[in-house]
């Protein structure tokens, strides 16, 4: 028994080592949203295309959808844009955009030039909705369920590989491509 106790430092070393090795494979920039499982923060902001029309969080209920935070100043947003177009067209995903700290004219021009995958866009000029959502860098994509509750957040580009993950999560929430 006493002999066995002599090995405790070695065993502790192995446990710590295993934890460190695990730590190496974790992505340190991957931080969980504080908003998971919470209702989408309430807002009352103008629509991007029609500035006189206001939209609020109630427009985000009724179906499982993606909410995509984007801006024309964000290079990764441009990268993912064509994939979002494809998602909206071929997969029938409903995507709502949040135009984050941007200029209305630039954003409108962007949508004209690169195509518009969004059902509608919230024009968050000051970034107030972004702040309430805990956005720390565009692009960010949220899965919002039927009741308008945030279920998942992806930070960074949405591409085919990410979509596979998102799709599984959306299907688990009752989403199906043919429904919409």
């Amino acid at each position: 028994m006493r002999r066995f106790l002599l090995f405790t430092p070695l065993i502790l070393c192995f446990i710590l080592g295993a934890l460190f090795v695990k730590g190496l494979s974790l992505n340190p920039t991957d931080l969980p949203s504080a908003k998971i499982g919470k209702a989408f923060p309430s807002f009352n902001l103008p629509d991007l295309k029609d500035g006189t029309q206001k939209v609020n969080e109630k427009s985000l209920t009724g179906t499982v959808r993606l909410v995509n935070v984007w801006a024309t100043w964000c290079p990764t947003c441009k990268q993912e844009h064509s994939f979002l177009n494809k998602l909206a067209k071929t997969e029938g995903v409903e995507i709502v955009g949040i135009n984050y700290k941007d200029e209305r004219s630039k954003a409108a021009q962007w949508l004209k030039r690169y195509g518009d995958p969004y059902t509608f866009n919230v024009y968050d000029e000051k970034g107030s909705l972004g702040l309430d959502l805990g956005v720390y860098g565009a692009p960010e994509t949220y899965i919002v369920d039927v009741n308008g509750v945030i279920q998942y957040r992806h930070v960074g580009e949405v591409n085919a590989a990410v979509w596979l993950e998102l799709k599984v999560k959306m299907q688990a929430l009752g989403w199906s491509a043919d429904k919409s």
Binding site: T29, A34, G134
Partner: protein, 164 residues
């Protein structure tokens, strides 16, 4: 020449944390101090290993403005921290709050320290008792050797008797 050297040396003293404060005006010193303290204690969500006062990223700038607004508004440390945690999670706190998730973080080192003391204490006690055993054995050996002497003597006496 002297002045140029002096000016160059003064340039070395432009600390970044001061730079962040100078753009904001406060009506009381307490508010200025609170802002300074919180902007150093809150972590920038985007840039990982920098606090709000260090970072030049867009989100850190926004959060500094938000922090300034709240400080001027007269909100206290808890209110401001709650606001940030509600949006960005515990991650933003460089000094995490004490709750069931962070008990290991806060008290783990002390537990390890106590465990270390116990191990050192028990090891030294074992060594002491081991020494005692050794000396006890020595005493026993000594006494048993005198016994053999007695036996030998007795044997010799008996042998001598037989000669008679």
């Amino acid at each position: 020449m002297k002045y140029i050297v002096l000016m160059l040396m003064l340039m070395l003293f432009s600390l970044p944390s001061f730079a962040a404060i100078d753009t904001f005006k406060f009506d009381t010193d307490e508010k200025r101090e609170l802002f300074r303290q919180l902007s150093e204690e809150l972590r920038c969500p985007k840039c990982q290993n920098q606090n709000l006062s260090d970072s030049n990223s867009a989100i850190a700038k926004d959060l500094r403005v938000e922090l300034y607004r709240m400080v001027v508004d007269g909100q206290n440390t808890t209110q401001i921290k709650d606001f940030m945690v509600e949006r960005y999670g515990e991650f933003v706190l460089y000094r995490p709050s004490v709750n069931s998730l962070t008990y290991a973080l806060w008290y783990g080192p002390f537990v390890l320290l106590i465990v270390g003391f116990i191990i050192v204490f028990s090891l030294s006690r074992n060594r002491k008792s081991a020494k005692k055993i050794v000396t006890n054995n020595a005493v026993q050996n000594a006494s048993s050797s005198t016994q053999t002497d007695i036996h030998q003597q007795r044997l010799k006496e008996l042998l001598d008797k037989k000669d008679d």
